[in-house]
Amino acid sequence: MTDFLNAIVALSNFVLIPGAAYGAQLALGALGVTLIYGILRFSNFAHGDTMAFGTMATILVTWGLQSIGISFGFLPTALIALPIGIAITGLLLLGTDRAIYRFYRKQKAAPVVLVIVSIGVMFVMNGLVRFIIGVGDVNFADGARFVINAREFKEMTGLDEGLALRSTTLITLVTAAIAVALLFWFLNKTRTGKSMRAFSDNEDLALLSGINPERVVAVTWLIVAALATTAGVLYGLDKSFKAFTYFQLLLPIFAAAIVGGLGNPLGAIAGGFVIAFSEVLITYAWKKVLVYLMPENLEPSGLVQLLSTDYKFAVSFAILIIVLLFKPTGLFKGQSV
């Protein structure tokens, strides 16, 4: 029985909890990508850098708050700064839309043109973020680090395996859940939210129904700003902020959005967790768990690892491609333009 509990705890500690936190971060990022795809109808390559910008704005505000002595108790100060960061990012995105994207929308440019435009925006934002905050590693998490740490858990339960729950992990999961719940409430229950779904479903008919496209677009960018900034800040709190890493985040986020089905919010969430868990599970060495579970004479001698972690990153893309081969528009039937 103890062995069984140990196995469960080990699995939770190293696979389930970290996977869930990473999955939530990817899911929030993928939600932003998928909303833009659903409503503005292009894959936004600048999304990683939007997350970087939002996080940067939040960090700057956090520093400001800290310098005047404001903190949030055992919670990170960045959570107070988050709404301001979102507002700043929202302004940036609205400005970008006004200055750049709107022109192509008016022209009814092909979606792929918008994708290429977003690559240009990506380059510019990339430079902008580095220009303002620099290229270094920024650690801006404060507040309490653990809810339960591994040592305490072991003492408490008498098990051999520890279970650690970091406060940032908990905050990530809770915030992500709140954000997703808010988003779904907004999309399904409010007039504006429904009008966005209508616009995404059938743009021409939305126009006929008197839905103002510019308003839908503006609201979309604001929501994307909120999602991207929240995702970026949660990620940064959990790990740390570095401009280069945020650009790299774009790839798993895209993978998540695509696996789930572009334009489908439920799919984005599922995709985030699929990608996160596939990275962890396929390269996981099952030795420890099996040693606990198996009778002594059957214990594995090797690592019982499907693929070495070198291929972790390739795994998520391989899964992406396999999913697309069998379900060409993703698990949750996304759109395609």
Binding site: N202, D204, L205
Partner: protein, 237 residues
Amino acid sequence: MAEPHLIGEAMTGGYGRGADILHGCTLSVDKGEIAVIVGPNGAGKSTAMKAVFGMLNLRSGSVRIGGEDITHLSPQDRVAKGMAFVPQTSNIFPSMTVEENLEMGAFLRRDDIRPTIEQVYDLFPILRDKRRQAAGELSGGQRQQVAVGRALMTQPSVLMLDEPTAGVSPIVMDELFDRIIEVARAGITILMVEQNARQALEIADTGYVLVQGANAYTGTGAELMADDEVRRTFLGG
């Protein structure tokens, strides 16, 4: 004689900067009446209706509703003036529920829309049962009902239908025509384009036969049905 409720007068124009498709075409409907546009393929039937709704640029001619000139209004603004349009295809929001489709139809209204939704449900009882279902999952005829219902949500004075019976079975078609008559009885002016010319003319108060973007024959539904020339050329004998 008082001016008809809706009139598109001597309309000439085409899409974008392309060649003209309409050549001095005139359409008019009185309040609470049904007008049907028929004609051969490529005669500009749908184009004529889109012109009335403001979806193409008129080089000359005018559109008036209730005596008010709306020639230069955008389709959205015409919706506010009491026009409702049901396109031939993609006329619903497929991933939204039936009820949400109806709500979206009433997007511009700020008053209580419950009663109107109830009216639509009374008109199309099947929709009441399927109100929580995604509209995209419904059958073809039911989707057309959703589409018409959505258009009615603005409480329009004019309802324009672009081939509402395209691709539905004859039984469903009859049913739809019955509903359309019911809508007209409620005092709503109806302008529609139909492929099934014979059945459509049967319920029409006025019929327009268009050929190459111009009026070829005009008359009551019965008159056109009786006209040998029209029958032979357009109604298949």
